[in-house]
Each structure stands twice: as structure tokens, then as C-alpha cells.
Amino acid sequence: MESKDILQETELEKKHHEFLENNTDFEMRSLDSVCFNESELKHPWWYNLKYAAVGLLFGIVFVKAEIISWFRIQEMFRLQSSHMYGVIGSAVVVGLISVLIIKKFKIKTIYGEPIEFVDKKFNKGQIYGGLLFGLGWAITGACPGPLFAQIGSGATAVIVTLLSAIAGTWVYGKVRDRIPH
């Protein structure tokens, strides 16, 4: 009985792997993802509300720990405070331990799907794009997540910054084939 369960389980994993391999949609997006995951399950739209709930808690942490503060970002880039280094560093440590635990115990999602990771490929865009983003980060005091939270916190003019970031993403998509990667 038990071995049959294991057999079924590995078959499920194999099927999921094939699904990931044959998913052409994913090709385009794989540039961006670290983790080779995509759920095959179809859920009604309101299942997405749980991601909104996680985002809501995230937004509260953003404000309460002053991570979305332009001033804290200026301090970080001038080495005048260790606050942001502590936040990012401890987030990475907790993330790292969580990923290790998920891998070690082959933990599945709440819907029973396996969680699979793939390696990220290096390309020069990570350097060029990274530098450009760094320049923008120090100007706006925000990476994409904090832009949303800054708007929420009443800095309505940041809507312009967000729209411009969307335009920047669009221009990247337009010129992507003509710039070095």
C-alpha cells in the first residue's frame, strides 16, 4: 500500500516536470524566475485573494519598519545606518533556511503540488540592468514593491513614478533584442 503511494507520488512529480518543460508560455518568463514553479491547478479568481492578504501584511511591514522611506534608502547608500542591511540580511537568512527546509523535506504546496527549483542563468543584463536599477533606486528611494506602498501611504505623486516605471519596463520589452545580454 505504502509503496503504491510513493509510486503515485513520483508519477505526479514526473507529470508536473513534463508540464513545466512543455510549457512554452514559461519560456518567455523563465528569464525572470528563479524558481521553476508554476501551478497547473485552475482555481476561481478569489483564490488570488490570499496573495492580496500576504501583500497586505508585507505593505504594513514596509511602512512600519520604514523600508519604503526615501530617507532610510539614502542612509543605506551613504553607509549612515545599518537598518536596511539588517532588514535585507535577516530576510535572506530566513528565506535561505526556509528554502533548505522545503528542499530537504520535499514539502508540497497546500494543494499537494511538488515545489521545484531551477537555477538562474547568468546574462550581462544582470550587471547593466542592475546598475541602472540601482541608480533609479537611490533617486526614488524605492524598488518596485515600495513604490506601491508609498502610493498607499498617501504620496500620490509617486503614481507618476510608478507609471514611468511601467513605461521603462515597456521600453525594455521593445528594445530587448537590440541591447547586450
Binding site: G55, A65, G89, F122, A155
Partner: protein, 189 residues
């Protein structure tokens, strides 16, 4: 001190950092999602102005969770700022305060300096460069790099991806150059 007063104080890094780190396993466990925020900008492009560009021709509806996620972040920012915010202005390093004072920035009440980011300054050279220019660099740069602080620095490093380390170092180098060498000129405008 009541609970609300307690929660209204600024949270230290060792509370905020681990909570953010926990988003990585939470998203994986509740639906096999990879932590990343800048992709939401791509999905917005794909949904609103795909313009037949291959980079935006994919089924964005499959990624709609990411848009719910950023909507949640916006709402969370709103609730925290209006209900849980520390009434005191933010405390910054004295050296930073002295430097900013030279550029006429002394309002510490908001998350962003109200004297730089507002609808009136938008139509000045400085405002255009800061808001429109800065935003453009964030959107273009993150997509070119394939991720932002969440996707590379947190998710990527959590999974020990060296390209993410390269990206994270590049973010920091860009930020140091801007904050220390270029931004003083922009703020003087």
C-alpha cells in the same frame, strides 16, 4: 503602554527582516509562487499595452496573482500609514539631515520627502528627473536585470543563485554612485 502604542513604534530590523523572509516560503506553500514584485510591471504592460511585442505576448492572466499581491501591498501601505503610523517624524542620521538641509529638504513627516515628490514639483526640471527619470530607471533596470530586490536579493540569494548575487551587487553599486556622486547635483537643481 497599550498594544496599539506598542505597535505604532517603528519596527526594528530584526522584526521586519525575518517577516519579509517568511514571504518566500509562504508564497511557495500557498500556491507555488516565486517571490518577486517587478514582474508585476511586466504583467501590467502585457495586459494593457502589449503592442505585439513578443516580450509581452504571454498569458498574463495566469500571473494575475502577482497583481493581487501588489494591490495588497498598496492597501497595506495605506492602512499602516493611516492607522498604525508613529506620530513622530522619522529619525535620520544627523549627517544626512545636515546634507538634505542644504537642498531645502526638512520635512520628515512622510515616507518620501514631500518637498521633492509632489504634484507641483513634477513640472520642474528637478521633479521630472526625480519622478519620471527615477521611475523609468527602476522599471527598465529591473526588467533588464530580470528582477528587483525581492526577486534577486531575497528570493535569488535564498536559493543560492550566483547570478542573483551579481545582480544584487550591481544594484548596490548603482545606488552608491547615484546617492553619493550624482544625486547631490540633481538636488541642487
Amino acid at each position: 503602554m497599550s498594544f496599539i502604542e506598542f505597535i505604532k513604534q517603528p519596527w526594528p530590523w530584526y522584526v521586519a527582516g525575518p517577516l519579509i523572509g517568511l514571504i518566500v516560503p509562504t508564497l511557495l506553500l500557498i500556491g507555488n509562487k516565486t517571490f518577486g514584485i517587478s514582474s508585476s510591471l511586466r504583467h501590467i504592460c502585457a495586459a494593457c499595452v502589449p503592442a505585439n511585442i513578443p516580450f509581452f505576448k504571454y498569458d498574463w492572466k495566469k500571473e494575475v496573482w502577482n497583481l493581487f499581491f501588489v494591490a495588497g501591498i498598496t492597501l497595506g501601505g495605506f492602512l499602516a500609514f493611516w492607522l498604525l503610523q508613529n506620530p513622530e517624524p522619522i529619525q535620520v542620521n544627523a549627517k544626512l539631515a545636515a546634507e538634505l538641509n542644504q537642498y531645502g529638504i526638512n520635512d520628515y513627516s512622510g515616507m518620501v520627502p514631500a518637498q521633492l515628490f509632489n504634484w507641483d514639483t513634477l513640472f520642474s526640471v528637478k521633479g521630472l528627473l526625480l519622478m519620471v527619470g527615477g521611475g523609468f530607471l527602476v522599471g527598465f533596470g529591473t526588467r533588464y536585470a530580470g528582477g528587483c530586490t525581492s526577486g534577486h536579493a531575497i528570493m535569488g540569494l535564498s536559493n543560492l543563485q550566483w547570478p542573483s548575487l551579481v545582480a544584487t551587487i550591481s544594484f548596490m553599486v548603482g545606488g552608491f554612485i547615484m546617492a553619493n556622486l550624482l544625486l547631490p547635483f540633481l538636488l541642487k537643481l
